[in-house]
Symmetry: D4
């Protein structure tokens, strides 16, 4: 990505990468410049702060943060910026993602995190595109096309069904 990134994709650990790379894929598909970083709320808190506090100045418009277990990264990021922060609850080894979800979504008044479904980094990126599209007509059109394509693909599966 040569352009200055508009979307920052961060995650707590490289074990989250398999899930979070879907977010990068969607950004690429929509032609949105982005960056991917590992910053841990618990292991590198100062880097999270620095990342969150400087993101706006660096031109970042939306931050996508994925984490699992006691998943504090999205909320911690949101405490250091007023940019929209999208949280991806990554399923961890126990409790089937419930801990990750509740740790991310149940934020206190004043500091929201826009939470998406467990392990659904793809939706996090689509939401980021929707946010950017609020002031970008071209992107808005791409989203309309994306939605139409989804509709077509969904309907097309009916043909496949008939062959079963």
């Amino acid at each position: 990505m040569k352009n200055k990134p508009l979307v920052g994709i961060i995650m707590g650990s490289d074990s989250d990468f398999n899930v979070m790379k879907q977010a990068a894929d969607v950004c690429r598909e929509f032609g949105i410049s982005h960056e991917v970083k590992i910053v841990s709320a618990h292991r590198t808190p100062n880097h999270v702060k620095e990342y969150a506090a400087n993101a706006h100045q660096r031109g970042i418009k939306v931050i996508i943060a994925g984490a699992g277990g006691a998943a504090h990264l999205p909320g911690f990021t949101a405490s250091h910026t007023v940019l929209p922060v999208i949280g991806v609850p990554v399923k961890s080894k126990s409790l089937d993602g419930l801990d990750s979800l509740l740790s991310i979504v149940q934020m206190p008044s004043g500091v929201p995190v826009a939470t998406v479904a467990i392990d659904n980094a793809k939706n996090a990126a689509i939401l980021a595109v929707q946010i950017l599209a609020v002031s970008d007509k071209n992107l808005y059109k791409k989203l309309i096309d994306y939605k139409k394509k989804m509709e077509k693909e969904s309907l097309a599966k009916n043909k496949k069904l008939k062959l079963i």
Copy 2:
């Protein structure tokens, strides 16, 4: 509100109003034009569709949708628009809000809903402001001020504590 609304606040039932009015309060605080409507995914689905499908043309930039139980309003709205849709899980009579939360947040790939904490319509509105602020420097500054004010108020509580 004389201006064309930028934020649409919708809810499934008037019983959700006590929670959802907090969203309107925040919009007012930030000087953002908004509208409040009751449209039910299950009782008035055609109006939801119409609302969602026309929102963009009417100048709406972000939709906040609150619902409880099998809370389909946010997801149903998101299926008819590519505007960012923020979902507020409203606690219903049983299960302490878990049903509302899961029905809203666990959306399938392609159709995200930006979910906030149970009953936290205030955060939904702050998130809406953050989204609008992506392309509105003035609003961005207001958010920075809001954050500073929150910080001050939080610290000020320590004085109160000493008097206890």
Copy 3:
């Protein structure tokens, strides 16, 4: 199926087909004309509406709808028809089916969905047959026979047990 279908079996995605085909199997076993379609509450909402709104005119008597996660298809269908809608919560990748179940069963007053067990499309179809049998003596007899056969098969397993 040459006859006009009496039972409509719909699902949100082709990934639900492995579960939902059990419903078609039961219909076939009872000689009930049926159809199987993929219509997504979130990706093809207009087709869901069309399907639900026209089902009665097309001769459909009961609709079986299966979906997972934030499973809105059954409720969304029920919002557009007064035909009985049977919901099958399909287990999704996280939360072991709890999200699917709560999203389907916790419908608000006025718009019921007849919910069956997680992944139990077979029971959805038996329920559909029971509903049709309310006004079809022949079908009622078949259900009685089916119940007797189940009873026999269950008892017969005791013999198998003795050989272990």
Copy 4:
């Protein structure tokens, strides 16, 4: 009710009556003959069996069964009849209705219970009306009218909202 009842409303205990009477109210509203009885899966199992086994002969077309905790009444009823059985999970003193819901909805293959939302006996009755309407055009029209009325009432709440 002078006519032979078409809908049987049963419950495990008189403490369930506050919830279950909503089902009787809906039947009355639709002019459907019905009866209300207390039969307990655990305290009067023989009466449940008798009730379920003879219901069809007595002209009952649909059974609505409400129970809480380890709520076996709906499933137990379904084991003795092939009439459609609708289960209402009644919230009990602990666990916020989750025990009632799971005990009713998670029925094994072969013996479905059409489960509605926790404490939502109203929806159970609407579902019963929908089932009867499959072969009763007059009732079908009443349901259409009911749905339209609901729609109107829901929309009308918007006016009330403006006055707040």
Copy 5:
């Protein structure tokens, strides 16, 4: 088993046998005559009733009942007998055994089921032996020996540990 069985081990389906055979193994280990049967609360309710109602006359002293999902067998059995009924929640395909557990343990006042851990048919049988031992000194001694053996085996594992 030539002797008249003292312990009746019943289960809802042959799929429960892998779990429930542990109960038979413990009975055998303690030299307690027992029988194993498949009777389903939902598929063969009359046989469950017959089994439960006649058990006392046939010399059965304790019944162990295992079932999964909406697990009604133990409670249904308890409704037809005053013998102690021990319930084994068998983990089913979804919800990790929570549905089975709550369906069995949350019995209403008047009709208890002695519930053991999920899938722990072994403990059900030990509990049955403890119940029989209330009036059987020989059995009581065997239980004391069993406990001592368990203690020894547990302590012996420390030696194994040192070799790791």
Copy 6:
């Protein structure tokens, strides 16, 4: 109670007494000698051990143990005796009794606790009577009478219903 107690009713704290006294009431109703004691697994572990280890010698036949939260009393008691131990999960201030239930019922192989419903000390005592009745014909008859009385009372509620 002048006679040597047959049933020992123990609880972790006097705050459990409101729930646990129901067990004493049932014992009284059946004419079974019993004793009530507060012994805490965590505050007076040596007394729990002493109580459990000596219970058999003192003539106790069944122990009923109630506790809440991380409810260890029933399991701890069971570790020091081979008498049947019945556990009553007492609902505590958070989590609606789920913690109490799981802490009591999920015992490891070798050391069962006969668990009853949350806060249902009445059922614990009925279960204790059922256990004693295994070798006491008189008690067995009383249980049959109790069951018949319950049945009558349950049926009688139907008359009350008609007056509503």
Copy 7:
């Protein structure tokens, strides 16, 4: 408190004070110098960092942190210090404390939080005393006395019971 505080008690909001003041009470009872502060992980993150990072230098030995909902304060504190951090999950308005508990206890490898029961700030302080007592014989003796007093009080309740 004139002495330099050994225990720092922090909480996310003044609404947590009713719970957290129990921790201060216990410290006072054991004569341990302490301080109480409101610092919010989300509203005043820099103050949390400062607090945590400087605590050791200021002579703090143990930090007790209480928070509710997406309760990040304990984990965030632990990310900035290697002092033992004790987390108190404060029950919030929804989900009965489960969100607070999971957000605090499920910390990733490398950054533990010593979690106590929901709303149990008293235990947090006792744990803090136990930690300080590892190197303070006097405090160790006080804990022994405290335990004995608890034991006595628990036993004494049996007398009260007899009077009921």
Copy 8:
């Protein structure tokens, strides 16, 4: 380990060893003398008591106890000592660790257990080191180094990421 152990690592069963050995590994890494033992709250309660009651005299400063299901070992240990007891909830075969977690963390007032994440024995040991470091400057420095190393390793993963 030639030195007198400072940390006692105990577990309920050898099946917990795979999880609990991580605690031993961390102790080794920090050069802290420790011992590993299998003592079961339910199978060898007297040895647990003995272990806990004598630990202080033997020079043990902190006890780490791991157990699963109705996991009583940590709480039982804490009832017999005033040393800090750290509990590790070991995931068992059902319920994904929720039973283990609640059985350990929800301790009553007066007897805390410092609970860490499900299966995270590594964090239990780090917490033990933090507790010992309260009065051991050398250990405190090692913890600071450990934290720095973690930070470096976490940041280094970003380089790896670029190569993907």
